[in-house]
Symmetry: C2
Subunit: 372 residues, 2 copies
Amino acid sequence: MRKIFEITASDSRSSARTGNIHTPHGLIETPAFAPVGSQGAVKGLSHSLLQGLGAQLMLVNSYHLFLRPGLETINQMGGLHSFISWDKPILSDSGGFQIYSLSPLVKVKKKGVEFTSHLDGTKIFLSPEDVVDIQIKLCSDIIMTLDHFLPFPASKEKMKEAVSLTSLWAKRSKAHFSQKDSSQLLWGITQGSVHWDLRKKSTEDLLDSDFSGYALGGLGLGEPKSQLMEIIEKSDSLLPKEKPRYLMGIGYISDILEAVERGIDLFDCVLPTRNARNGTLFTSKGKMVIKNLKYALDERPVDEDCSCYTCQNFSRAYLRHLYERQEISSAILNTIHNLYFYLDIFRKIRQSIQSNSYHRLKSIIINKEEEI
Amino acid sequence: MRKIFEITASDSRSSARTGNIHTPHGLIETPAFAPVGSQGAVKGLSHSLLQGLGAQLMLVNSYHLFLRPGLETINQMGGLHSFISWDKPILSDSGGFQIYSLSPLVKVKKKGVEFTSHLDGTKIFLSPEDVVDIQIKLCSDIIMTLDHFLPFPASKEKMKEAVSLTSLWAKRSKAHFSQKDSSQLLWGITQGSVHWDLRKKSTEDLLDSDFSGYALGGLGLGEPKSQLMEIIEKSDSLLPKEKPRYLMGIGYISDILEAVERGIDLFDCVLPTRNARNGTLFTSKGKMVIKNLKYALDERPVDEDCSCYTCQNFSRAYLRHLYERQEISSAILNTIHNLYFYLDIFRKIRQSIQSNSYHRLKSIIINKEEEI
């Protein structure tokens, strides 16, 4: 059986580790950050700019792509990699989050989800098996099971039901996937919010199905940080070391650093790209709101310690001007910086774990998310 | 005295020629196309992408930059090249066109133009001398005189007055500029629409002031092509061969090819960049409206004969998808293609003139602007 994940180094003081995820489209060195390209493109970049920043994979959204351009189109174009001309790994989100958050009318049944398209109101039913099939047709490298996602806070009663349904669907997803002769990786998603008894149950249920990777879903929704970290830490001790773990949708650098220490290998978040478009830039000294008047005559780069194209070439004053004029170049240059900043931190995370100095790196970086 | 323009080859069958314009920031090989970056950035590109396409210069807009971020900012940032981090030649439009077309209230007086800012209604007065001073402060390489621009069609009576005022202002601009010790190039703009007697008068008046280049303004506004070409042709015979000629704002490839044959050396137009954002792509076979349903499953590149990044990597189907989803990448990839297409035609124009085969190139390219 082919090796899907191997650990290449482990931190002596924590659960942090580096590893390689082997996918049909190549290796992902972990801890890794997946830039979000919901529609098959990271907003504000070309693929070549994205690769130049060191992106190892792209996250796409099954829900969006299923609705438009639709599976038939992507299938006829030879799968998603071919359709979007991206030959590195693709992780497709199952679309659960989007169904529950974008659709105006959702009915969750045991057999699956009935919802109306947020675009034209079309009624759609998707079973967990359908969601696997959609992602098999997309040919994404890492595919996610359909879960039952609840907003935060939800009653424990409801969360218990959500966990139960998520477990059932995960089992059915795995059974369905196993019948297919696919080299794609199917990962399960645990739910249960910050209730450890529920999260534990969810995790144990999923472990029964033996997925090739495990994601922690339904977090980063406003729950206290301490509870978030507690859940990650306890999940770490329950999950097998030899399987990659993915913390979905969480993007604050401080949270990422804490989560890496608790054994998380993969992250995704719109934070660096969305904030870039909104003019919020991440720097080694804290967050910078580029429209601020104090940057109008500031000749310095966004981050004097940054080697990205934007920082190597442009001043804060020019970036402020572009943002204020709503120039597309503002989105491009800001996105280049923010994503470079993120991917560079992940490079440093991997290096520091390999040289057993992760603790030092974390203490240098953390607490730098204030506005400067 | 330093050489500002030299002719490097001349077509034996027409007035087409290649040349070099020497500017403080380097050479512009002509015939040349200036991509429009009104606010100091070409919409949809980074400077590095723009240079990769072979852009030799950028056109910026004095009116916009004068209003925001303002001269003081640009001056304190070390001039426009430094502010926008662009070290190649910059041509600044005088802003006349924008004053007349964007300002809600314009009063043209002998001493200058009084107008209200289209942004906040501030009343502003600019004399032709002020407009020279603004562009001197911008440190642009080629600066344009303030002209009196009228919409098309205008009565001949009014156009006569506009020409008269344009001549007066041009003379004053030159006198004012001559007192400055600037290595920038000041070019005059002729007016007179398609009335040859007026255009002739305008041209002769400007020749008295001996500008280092001459622009034909107030054209491409809907006048019949035959009259447009007649004006360019007659201007060609009146203007000194040894001075570069600039046809302002005209961007259809067929018009450009006709104009090159009539001795025009420099062009600018928003057409390739604006059309790119609107999903209209130029190809060697004609115009392509990428949102068209017929491209939904089209695996071919936009133009099979094109070597640009977009055509080398992406299908019409993907570009249609990005356009339909209003992804920023759509603007980026489309702009890369359209500008490459334009700049590549200019490379071919220069090569063909140098190999005395311009006539053949023109006949191959022309009549390819239909929608395909």
